[in-house]
Subunit: 254 residues, 2 copies
Amino acid sequence: MAFIKVSMDALHADTTLSNYMHHLAEVPLLRQCTPAQRQHLAQHARLEHHAKGKVLFLSGDRADHFFLVLTGWVKLYRETLDGMQAIVDVLPAGHLFGETALFEENVFPFSAEVIEPATLLRLPIAVLSDEISKDPALALAMLRVMVQYRRQQDQELEHTKLQSAPQRIGCFLLRLLDQRNQGPFSLNLPYDKTLIASRLGMQPETFSRALTRLKDETGIRISGARIEGDAISQLAIYACGACSSTFPCKDKAG
Amino acid sequence: MAFIKVSMDALHADTTLSNYMHHLAEVPLLRQCTPAQRQHLAQHARLEHHAKGKVLFLSGDRADHFFLVLTGWVKLYRETLDGMQAIVDVLPAGHLFGETALFEENVFPFSAEVIEPATLLRLPIAVLSDEISKDPALALAMLRVMVQYRRQQDQELEHTKLQSAPQRIGCFLLRLLDQRNQGPFSLNLPYDKTLIASRLGMQPETFSRALTRLKDETGIRISGARIEGDAISQLAIYACGACSSTFPCKDKAG
DNA sequence: GCATGTGATTGACAAAAATCAATTGGGAAT
DNA sequence: ATTCCCAATTGATTTTTGTCAATCACATGC
């Protein structure tokens, strides 16, 4: 069974890269680049497909490259001395990771693992470094992304301090939805419940029970990874009271 | 009684500003500026003294200025719909705040209040904005500060998820100390216990009991706001096991 | 079809923290 | 000194979450 995974890990031919060029324009950080800059970055990019479970790098590894998620999901995590795992972030398509190593002695400050089959773009950090110091506009774009990320972290910290477990799940679901829609909704949890639990800072058992309680209190319907409801406001009323942001909030899951 | 506080709020003459010029060189963000740039910033700066309790601005206020803490402590916080308060950060001397409004539609994303009598430097955001777009090196310096801040946030998120209440207090104390020293230590809590509790995401009662437990388990001595112990390692062994950073860690309190 | 492994759920219990209530203690104002 | 106020502590209790163990559900390979 292992050899099947190995074949998934193989690099595809670079000829498929052009299929993904347009993705570069959709990444917040790179949107502000000129087409020429993007072209330059793309010349040094490598496209990779990875199966679930693939460890991309470990905390402390030398960081020569950073990554861009094109499809699938990747988790960033750190491990404590007594063996616990802290999820730093869970990234969907369009997100960048590993780029902060630029400013941290070229060492990754966390480990990264593919959690749903993923297509990644791997780019040399040196190229980004070059472009940034050449172009102040890119540096400003990067600053903007950092500030936004920082705000999201603030928010998350607030959530773990002030929201109950069912509220945190409700908030998580809301961020998976387009909150501008008012009516009925339906979604699939994007990755394992165990991992969502860990992401939200709770045990799988607590997650399971909290989800049941969220169902009872808001009237949403659950079957496996599928979740449906009649109105987004059901969730918002329940979850957003313990949050300092106003609904609809702009944060995305995560 | 009110008029006494009012007198504390008064602006001092700008002539005292030169006394604080050397502080500018000690702020991570500004250290990388040229002396000329710092001089330019300083020309637009105003020095302010504020008493405990002074609210500097509220979340959503228009942000024309940012601040630099020269002495004292300032807390940044947000309030939820159901009336709870989330501490975003607590800042000692040398820290900058409000500068991220630069990238967020010039509105403060949190409120700020002086919690220990403070000397502040107030600077127009426009000046910083100018300098940054003129000088890529300053943008890079700011990026560096942002990345560092982001790391600290990651850390804090991890702590609230994985550490027990007594461990979080132990970690907090460690970050108040110079961890390079090995021997006996002694410190005063820098602000109210109630606020430290809130900062660490727990109730005042929990803080009080957790501090007692920390004392019992590590042998530190407590009288009021004064805390002493025979070896920093007492604390490190107890608190740092549930953390992914290695001791001594570089993070400072906050 | 069946065995197998993993993720998910459920129950019983323990631990941690929040909550409610009462009291203590120390500084500031008078 | 005395009063007042507020931070801090302590006790009793409830709520929440974690832990341990058993079971269930479901996809996969054989």
